[in-house]
Each structure stands twice: as C-alpha cells, then as structure tokens.
Subunit: 443 residues, 2 copies
Amino acid sequence: MESLKIGLLGFGTVGKGTYDVLKRNQEEIKRRAGRGIEVTRIAVRDVAKARAGLGDDAARVPVDADSAALVDDPNVDIVVETIGGTGIARELVLRAIRNGKHVVTANKALLAVHGSEIFEAASTRGVMVAFEAAVAGGVPIIKALREGLTANRIQWIAGIINGTTNFILSSMRERGVDFATALADAQRLGYAEADPTFDIEGVDAAHKVTIMSAIAFGVPVQFDRAHVEGISALNSIDIRYAEELGYRIKLLGIARRAASGIELRVHPTLIPSKRLIANVEGAMNAVVVQGDAVGSTLYYGKGAGAEPTASAVVADLVDVTRLHTADPHNRVPHLAFQPESLSDTPILPIDEITSSYYLRLRVADVTGVLANITRILADRDISIEALLQKESEEVGAAGRNETDIVLLTHETVEKNINDAIAKIEALDTVKGAVTRLRMESMN
Amino acid sequence: MESLKIGLLGFGTVGKGTYDVLKRNQEEIKRRAGRGIEVTRIAVRDVAKARAGLGDDAARVPVDADSAALVDDPNVDIVVETIGGTGIARELVLRAIRNGKHVVTANKALLAVHGSEIFEAASTRGVMVAFEAAVAGGVPIIKALREGLTANRIQWIAGIINGTTNFILSSMRERGVDFATALADAQRLGYAEADPTFDIEGVDAAHKVTIMSAIAFGVPVQFDRAHVEGISALNSIDIRYAEELGYRIKLLGIARRAASGIELRVHPTLIPSKRLIANVEGAMNAVVVQGDAVGSTLYYGKGAGAEPTASAVVADLVDVTRLHTADPHNRVPHLAFQPESLSDTPILPIDEITSSYYLRLRVADVTGVLANITRILADRDISIEALLQKESEEVGAAGRNETDIVLLTHETVEKNINDAIAKIEALDTVKGAVTRLRMESMN
C-alpha cells in the first residue's frame, strides 16, 4: 500500500523531532501501521535552517516558506502543525480541515482556546484532529482518557503537567533554595525559557488541564473559565513546613466534577508525600485520573522535549492511518463524547470550589491568638486537621516574641476560608497577611 | 442508532462487574460511543445464582446455561467471555469468531497460550478480539503499548502485574513477617485465593508479560518460552538486606529486547527504592515501558477486582463500537503489528539473559573468604557494585563465628553468575547454598 504523505508545518524542536523519529523507526512503524508514513513536504519560515537540519534528506524533501501551499497541496494526506501559538496556526489548521485533510498538532494553546471551532470544523468535514502531544508529551494520557477509561464516570483528574515548574519545585525542596534561584538554575539548564511566564504562572498547565477537563466530563474547552495560579509567589518556607507535616507542594492542574459544576484550576497544591504523584520529581509529568469503576490510575513520563513529543505526534499519525477508514460518525470523537452530547455543566468560579487548606500565619502571642483563630474557623464549620507551631523567636528592637503557626484544615468551600482569613488577619496579634495554599488528599 | 447487543459468557466477578458498570454508566457510555451498549443475553452454569445477582433485571435479560446457543445467536453482536481458563473458553471464543462476532475477553491464560490461533482466526474472519482487561485490570496498558507508543522501538517493559504477590511482598517488608504469614493474611483479607499457586508461583504474571512482549516487540505469544519464578521461596531476610542497600524486592514481569533475542521472565527482582515503581505497594499494579523516543513511562492502578476489570472490558466494548466500521486490514492489529509483519526473533533461554545480581552467602571466616569470592567473580569479569557485611555471630556448640555477606554485582550474563556461584559454594568457608536474586536498575 502507498505511504501516507505528511506535510510538516514548522521544523523546530517538535517538527524536527517528528521527522527524526518517523525516519529512524520507519520500518517498525510500517510493521505496525500496515503502510509507510513519510514526510513529503515541509513549510517553515527559516528555509535555510530547516535544510541544514535535514542534512542529506534536503535533496529529497521539498522545503519552502509557503505554508498555505502545503495545506492546499492535494498530495498531502495529513498536516502536522508544529508552529505553535493561536494566530497563523489556527488559520492553517482550519484551512487544512476545509481541504479535507487530517490534522495532528501538539498545540495546547490553540486547542484550549479555539478547540470548539476547530473540532466543529473537523466533525463537519469528517476529518480527524489528533492532539496526544498537547498534554504530557509522550505519555498517552489523551488516549487513556478518551478511549481507555470510557467505562467510567470520571470523578477528577489531577496532574503535574508542566515540567518547568516541577523542576523548580523539586530544586526548591531538595536544595532549599528560593524561587528566583531555582528559576535561574532551570533557565541555565534549559528547563525554563528566557521568558518563563507561561510556565511559571500556570498558563501552560491551564491549557492542558482545560483540554483534559473537556475529554473527561464531556464539556466544551473553556480556557477562559480556568482559575490560573503559578508558583512565582511561592515561599520556600512553605515547602519546608509542608514537608514537616508530611506533604509536598506541586503545581497541579485539577479538573473535578462537583455537585454544582466542574472545578477547573491550576495552583500550587499540598499532596501527602506518600502518594505516588508526590514523588514525581524534576521535569517529569504525571496525571492521576479517578474513575468510578477503575478507581485511581496514574500515567507518568517525560512531558516535553523533541523525542517524547514526537512520540505522541507519530502515534497520532499511526492512529489516523489505522482509523481514517472508519465511519466518521462512529470513530473516536475528538473530545471523547459525541459532539451532540456535550454538556453545558458550568465551570465553577474559584470561590465555589471545595478544598482543604494550609494556612501559615505570623503571631505575636500564641496562647491568646490560637483561641481566637480556632473560634473564627469553628464559626464557619471549618475543622482543623493538623497544627504546627514553631518555636517563638525575638523580633525587633522591643524584643517581642513572634512565631509561625501553620494550620491544615479539613475540606470547606473556598469563600468560607477566605472569609475566615479576613477575620484572622484583622486580629491584633496576627502580623501581616495569612499565607493560604490549597491541599488535596488525592484519595 | 440501535444499541449494540452483548452476549455475556459467565456471571462471576468480572461478568457481573461488567453488567453493573454498563448499566450504571449507560448514559455516559452512550454519550461517548454514540449508541447504547446493552447486555441482551447471559449464559452461565449456575442460572439461579445469576438470576439472583441480576435482581429485578432478571425479568428483562434472558439467562440460561446454553453458552453455545449464545455464541450462535444472530442477535448477539459482541461476545464477552468471562469464563476463564483455556478449555471451554477457547472453544466458545473460536466459535464466536467463526460466527463473525467480535469478542472481548479478560482471559490472559487463554491468550498467552492460544493467542496465535485466536488472533489468526479473528484476522481471517475480520473481527476484533479485544483484551485490555487481560493485563493490569483497568489500567489501559494494552492500549498504551499498542496505540499510544507506536512511534517507538520499545526497549523493555517491566511490570508489577500481580496484585496478590505485591500485597504479600508489601506486608513482608512493612511488617517484617515471613512469606507463610503474609500469604495467610492475604488469604484472610481476600487478596489471595485458597489455592494461590498461579499467583505466588508467577504463572499469572507470566501470562500477562507474555501478552505484553508480543505487543511490544511484534512476536507471537509464546508462554511456553517464558521463565517463571514466584515468591514462595523468598526469605524475609533478603527483603531486609535489600532495604539496607536501598532496594525493594518486587515480583516483576520483564520483557526486554537484547542483542540476540528477547528476554521474557518473571521473578523476584531488586529495584532501587527511589524508583517510582518501587513505591507501588499493596495490591496495586504498575508497568514501566521504555521506548527509544518517549523514554520511560509508567502506568499505575488497580490490577484486579470486579469494577477495575469491568472498566477495561467496557472500554473494549466502546472501542469495538467505535472502530468496527474501519477497514479490518487497516484497523488496530491485535498484537499491535500487522499479522504478516510478526518477527521470529527468538525468546532467549534464561541462561542467556543479562542482569545484575544480589548474592547472599553465609561464611565462616570473612577475611579469607572475601578474597576468594572476589577472585572467582573477577575471573568471570563480574564486578561488584556494593557489599554488605553483617556483624558476625557465634554459631553452634563449637562457638565458631559465622556471618552473612551480601554482594551486589554489575551486569553479567546469567550463566556466568551461575558458574561463579557454583565455585563459591564449593569454598570450605562458605556455608550452604548462595541465595541469588536478580536486580534491575530500571534506567
């Protein structure tokens, strides 16, 4: 059977990785897919650089800067989009779909923001848009959610889905350094970009968990409803106190089915140290999925890099090869649920979510203040799970004694704890702002 | 669209679990699959018991003892086989295939032993035989290997794929009890069967790793070539010494691509404690897959039980619903590789495998014997990675000093270490047999 012809948009890390893996493992891939899969055309901005990257293959594979011509090329069966961003990538993907071509993309921002438009266009035209590489690199988490766990009512998903921030959090904990130092190290070692905003402020993780929430719960992608908090404000003392209490702090993307809607949030989170996911260190990714039949499952691996990402892109290409002959209305739906069966369950505002909390506060007079704090919490039905009181130290010229108190609460609604915190901060004996972090038992 | 009609063979743990999950989540499943999936006929030996288990549904779903009539029933679209074993199950599965029905099964023994016959019959007839539930319960590891990692040349797989033995090993380590006590506890708690042979002697794990090896490397299932060793001879002192050296002992199913063939083996294995898989405790399962592009990935969850297994069976049913319209020659092949592309790479005899080793020996005179032992190892190019020498203790009426020495070696071929052990055991100062365990760095 004739090889499937791939048009590659972009030849950066992911584009070149895809090219390399397809070429190196072409025989193995053909034994699996039943036919060859070949890159037959490449469109890039920097043609000379791509040609240099292709080496000897430059003589064989046409490279130019005309991406529109590529998606219009009748000799291209599948378009692989590795440009990134939501501008030109969106236009090219939609144009490829209109031309009846299947599309494979690693572009999480594009799908989290414009997913509904893209998937609708693809359903109408009867083509596949595959995006395993958009979440957790080479870990087949999209496939697990969309196909492997279809028997389940998914209850929640929680994932370490940004390697940069996990690398930073690991170094903060293991080496006791502060955020700025850990970030600088990550940048030096190539784990963080020169402008790390998207990673450290949680935006990248929010794109990914938005996509997973849609697949898990059968709702449209709604990035604008996600609550997004990064790790740049995280104090290393909280990592230490959490450790003393038996917890690790991870940046989690969480999607949870609650009684009145869906929680969709990214923030630093305390997790019990004994949980498997708490032990995912460095730039590695892991996603825990809780389903009503299967219970808790976990998927772990490299979340970024040329070859792990290419692994997912090429798996998608093999999937398209295997499944493109299936009746489009029967075939695996883009978001796991049939387009006409998507639900309008609302995404809850962050005030309405339910969580346990870690509170750190600086107090002047422990005995007096503890009674006041516990009363404020009890008035709001917030019970305390654990309390850590550090030895007091002398502060300032007057030699007053001050100390840190750390409280872990049981579950409550977020607006409740915020209300309690406002009251606690108003106490005379409490110095400065209360630090509040969310906590998940992952049970 | 009309519902797909399922004929259920057997109504034990897995059969009833499948029925329950299909019923409870029918709406969610229909939203995903695009059509309903309904059990319309059940065949069991104990009809009265099944009717009792069905409760009110007994009035609606026909139950009888005629399994042949079920697989011949033109109104049944998919046969779910939950009988187990390799006798009648094999006959019924083959008959269903001949009748042009798709088959879903959780029967690892059947596929590990008769897989080639069954898959060939299914390919010839153009039907799907799905078996996600055969390995690691609800964890979609078959899907990950067969579809999620198709870009990769798989290098090795190592899995904790038997919950009973992992539960026993966890209690031996955590509570310091011996094998017999841990087994008795596991039986009392329902984690081990009255006759636990298949689990504790590694046979169940060998069935599962045999299936995974075929999918990973594109070879036929060859259970008779697997090396199978269980945990019943494991001494709790080795668990303790391993712990002191930074290792945990797990019963692993290992399939590895070596230079001259494939290693296929089940045995107790030392793994560095810091590896994620070393921290998989109790009855949980986990599989690590190493691919050349993706690197190391891990899949974790419950490996047994009614609902986790049903989760996989129902996911297979949804898969069949989604994919049965695809061209059979294009569709996902049963063993990941196209039937005509299976390779005849041999499974290596256990003597030919490469591993690191843990050796424990009882010696009378440490100084003299250590020189002898290291020379025996050095003569065979086996280098020592670590050595643990326990304080000596007085033994016997004569009051001689004896002590345990534990050695960890670097990698060598198994016949090499066996040869060295024979020489070591022949030394005067070495008392009794040398305990030898295999060790994997999981890198």
